[in-house]
């Protein structure tokens, strides 16, 4: 049996939940990285009209998120080839993913709901979303990201799954710093050109 056939066998495609888990994690990763792009850009432009600036920042974050997902897939592929129990490895990851979703989906829903509330034409309501949701939730994000991974690992309990989860955790926590460094490097290059 080839590696691809084995991989396909690991996923029970008749069970939609098996497809739902990686798909939902991918959507959340893209959303999260888009917001990372926004946060990294925020507070760096003092212009008044900067809708386009923030749209570019969201897009840049989402694109770097795709790169992060791609890297995670490479790590997954390497571990898959190395591991002796491929079906068990995939099964463990799916179970870990399900658990991670129980942590990340409610978080994402609250944040998205806050964006909907922020559309209200009241300065006080909009400010409250910052005070009560965006601020505290952003503060809690690193702990929550880690909690999701730990909760997932509790289900997987395999070194190969743990390695992949740790890699994903590092990506989620370090993406904003990476984008900041890239921006600083671009600024240095521009200064050098001047």
């Amino acid at each position: 049996m080839s590696v691809w056939e084995e991989l396909a066998a690991g996923f029970d495609t008749r069970d939609l939940r098996d497809l739902f888990v990686p798909a939902a994690l991918y959507v959340l990763a893209t959303l999260d990285s888009a917001f990372v792009g926004y946060r990294e850009a925020a507070g760096r432009s003092a212009l008044i009209r900067k809708g386009a600036y923030y749209r570019r920042a969201l897009l840049r974050g989402a694109l770097w998120g795709q790169a992060a997902v791609g890297l995670a897939l490479l790590v997954f592929a390497a571990l898959y080839v190395l591991t002796g129990e491929r079906a068990a490895f995939v099964g463990a990851l799916l179970e870990a993913g399900r658990r991670m979703l129980t942590v990340y989906v409610p978080y994402a829903l609250v944040v998205l709901a806050a964006f909907a509330v922020r559309a209200a034409p009241s300065v006080d309501v909009r400010s409250l979303t910052s005070t009560l949701v965006f601020g505290p939730f952003l503060f809690a994000r690193p702990a929550l990201v880690a909690a999701g991974v730990v909760w997932g690992f509790c289900a997987a309990r395999r070194w190969d799954a743990a390695a992949l989860l740790l890699f994903v955790l590092a990506e989620m926590l370090l993406l904003e710093r990476l984008l900041g460094r890239l921006r600083a490097r671009r600024a240095l290059n521009r200064a050098g050109e001047v």
Binding site: A42, G43, R126, S127
Partner: protein
């Protein structure tokens, strides 16, 4: 995280110096600022000052200016998130309508920094009447950045390195954001005395509102959104040092007795929950009456009791 006393100075106040009459930039001895914060037991502030570049024992003014421009850029994010432009507009448009002169009114933002409020008002274009929007600040680098930003967006406003009370053409309405808490004790009353002596018909000053949760809220906001250690330090200290409503009202009344003054919108929707910012607003005689009428329903948010309690 928090500070032992409200009377701690902010770093941004201590790393620059200006001659009050000529506004000439003075040199600041780095060691003296460090020692000041060490003597106050604020080691974090001392560390931040220590990290600043120096030239011959004095703080490098160019590096300080670059830092302050960055800090103001980061602080603008707070104004954006808390919709500060709209809050100013709500009161300013009523005040401008109440002043109602036939000539072009001059609205001057004192201590404008990089001019966020003035630029926002110019960009939204809804102040009403014929209004000239001017930002004034002592710091030439901040004013230069404000001009650059306004120019980049083609905004109809101007910025001057000046004392807002000594402009060649004086202000009709004075406003500020986050400035009042820099004036302590008698200096706050003196600030309002300058309003009294000016030609201004009204004023509108926003600042942090002190409350038991304000320092924690400010710490959380600055911790997650500010990158510069100075912005984090001064941002939290600003919330600690902020004047309560009775202090602002009594200073306004003592310094500017020909103005009617009131606090505006200190509480959220009539609940005991404090807003992050409150405003002290004032206008002379008949302008005040027109202003209150112009506010309509929102006039219920005014509270001229020095004990506070406005909605």
């Amino acid at each position: 995280m928090l500070f032992g006393t409200k009377e701690q100075p902010e770093i941004s106040d201590e790393i620059v110096s200006y001659d009050p009459s000529t506004l000439a930039r003075g040199r600041v001895r780095k060691g003296e600022v460090e020692s000041l914060f060490e003597s106050l037991g604020n080691r974090r502030a001392a560390r931040i000052v220590r990290s600043l570049p120096e030239r011959g024992g004095f703080l490098d003014p160019d590096a300080v200016d670059r830092l302050l421009v960055n800090v103001h850029c980061e602080m603008q994010r707070m104004s954006e998130e808390f919709q500060h432009g709209r809050r100013v507009l709500e009161l300013l448009s009523a005040l401008v309508a109440a002043v109602g002169a036939k000539r072009r009114l001059r609205v001057v933002d004192l201590g404008c920094g990089t001019g966020y409020v003035i630029r926002w008002l110019a960009a939204c274009g809804r102040v009403g009447g014929r209004v000239e929007l001017i930002g004034a600040d002592y710091n030439a680098a901040l004013v230069g950045e404000a001009r650059r930003l306004a120019g980049e967006e083609g905004l109809d406003c101007s910025f001057v390195v000046a004392n807002a009370f000594r402009l060649a053409e004086p202000a009709d309405v004075l406003l500020s954001t986050g400035v009042l808490h820099h004036f302590r004790g008698e200096a706050l009353v003196e600030l309002f005395r300058q309003h009294e002596a000016s030609r201004a018909s009204g004023f509108l000053h926003f600042d942090f509102q002190p409350s038991p949760i304000a320092p924690l809220g400010s710490w959380l906001f600055h911790r997650i959104r500010m990158r510069q250690p100075l912005a984090r330090h001064d941002g939290v200290l600003s919330a600690v040092r902020a004047h309560p409503a009775p202090t602002l009202l009594s200073a306004a009344r003592a310094g500017a007795p020909s103005f009617r003054a009131s606090m505006y919108a200190t509480r959220l929707w009539g609940t005991p929950i404090p807003r992050a910012f409150h405003a002290v607003v004032g206008a002379r005689g008949e302008v005040w009456e027109r202003f209150v009428r112009g506010l309509g329903r929102r006039a219920a948010r005014l509270d001229d009791r020095e004990g506070g309690g406005a909605r």
